[in-house]
Amino acid sequence: MLLMAPASDLTPGRGQDGRRSPSRSERRMAASLARGEESTIREIEREYRPMLLGYLTALLRDGAAAEDVTQQVMLEVWQRRASFDPGRSSMSSWMMMIARSRAIDHARRRRPEPHEPAVTAALADRADAEPDRADELAEQWRMAHLLTLLPRDEAEILRMRFHRDLSQSEIARATGIPLGTVKMRMVSALSRLRELIESEG
């Protein structure tokens, strides 16, 4: 698969000059995008649209607006495709950066809606905090995307530990996997995730 090759053999790294060392699949994708191959943009959309939509829905708190902005982002990705440099950022980081900007533009345009004074004040607070919140949520959704690059069994261990708040012993009991294996997967998952974060920059 073009975009989502297993992390185990294609995890990007970072060179001595600080630039990313994109994986082979990332380089292929960037080249194909730069050539304007429509199949690539369709594949990018299929791969990253759920991440963008999740991020924008969380940020804008408005499903319809999130759809609109996601569409704008996809259009902008297409228009700016020649400027995407996999040596500087991953596709997900690049798209999230565009999404963040368009979402903040959108949030600024839509204010204010009429509300009682107390609510207006709360909304004003919220709008002022929008860039910080946008960054915080972008971090979350980038992380969520990185989780998709992990092998399934490792991602599941993380999910059980950090989402369902099960201890490693409880995970072992719940899944029937020996505790030693659970711990090994936990170490592997966290180490791999950390490498991915470092390669994202």
């Binding site: 759920p50 991440m51 999740g54 829905t57 969380a58 804008l60 708190r61 408005d62 499903g63 319809a64 999130a66 809606e113 009429p114 509300h115 009682e116 107390a118 609510v119 709360a122 919220r126 971090e139 979350q140 959704w141 992380m143 969520a144 995307h145 989780l147 998709t148 399934r152 991602a155 599941e156 993380l158 999910r159 530990r161 950090f162 989402h163 369902r164 708040d165 099960l166 201890s167 490693q168 012993s169 711990k183 090994m184 936990m186 170490v187 966290l190 180490s191 995730l193 950390r194 974060i197």
Partner: protein
């Protein structure tokens, strides 16, 4: 390099007391280990802070759609206010079940009304309410501004601000949509409107001055 498993057990709070003390002593003596732990601690913190939606996205990618037990609420979401809302929701659900159980197979006539945006509220907001007899209402809401922690919505049967009865409190998630099935506390025929107001948490149970949706009963 030290045993990564021990470091992760430490960060997850899963080392026993003796090992924890020993590990912390090692950290004091080893700057490299401290840096390693700090780096991993940040990652653990980020994972701990991921929203349910973000986990669901990642899970869906891996094809993990299994029903799972509710997340253990180690985080303190159950504030008294939320507890009140949760109780109201549970009570409403119980009442709905009771109604369903006692209704038997007889069909009660129902009618559907549209609740439109009250002037000043986001214009795309709307809801349809299907009222079954004088027993319950099914409310389907779209494009309502999602609630934050300081606000919630209240559905009312009302004629004016002196003649009204609350039906239920609810919140709206980032999708702006909500679907509620609620028992009615009184006959809708005794009131002119179904009205949704935005309420500020902790500001009392009286209707606020900000109604967002309204439709005839």
């Amino acid at each position: 390099m030290r045993d990564q498993g021990e470091m992760i057990d430490y960060l997850l709070g899963e080392l026993d007391e003796l090992d924890r003390v020993r590990f912390e002593r090692s950290m004091q003596e080893d700057a490299g280990l401290r840096a390693e732990v700090d780096g991993m601690r940040q990652l653990v913190g980020r994972l701990d802070g991921l929203s349910t939606e973000a986990w669901d996205y990642a899970g869906a990618h891996h094809g993990q759609r299994e029903p799972e037990p509710a997340r253990r609420q180690r985080r303190t979401w159950l504030t008294p206010r939320r507890a009140g809302l949760a109780f109201a929701g549970a009570a409403a659900l119980a009442a709905v079940l009771l109604v369903l159980l006692t209704a038997g197979s007889s069909r009660t006539p129902s009618k559907t009304v549209v609740l439109g945006a009250v002037p000043g509220a986001p214009s795309r907001s709307r809801a349809t309410a299907t009222i079954t007899g004088s027993e319950r209402v099914q409310l389907n809401i779209e494009h309502l501004t999602p609630t934050d922690e300081r606000h919630y919505y209240e559905l009312w049967l009302m004629t004016d601000t002196t003649h009204l009865v609350p039906v239920a409190s609810f919140r709206v998630n980032p999708s702006g949509a909500a679907r509620l099935s609620l028992p009615l506390p009184a006959s809708p025929a005794a009131y002119r409107y179904l009205n949704v107001s935005l309420q500020r948490a902790g500001a009392g149970s009286a209707i606020s001055s900000l109604s967002v949706l309204r439709g005839p009963t």
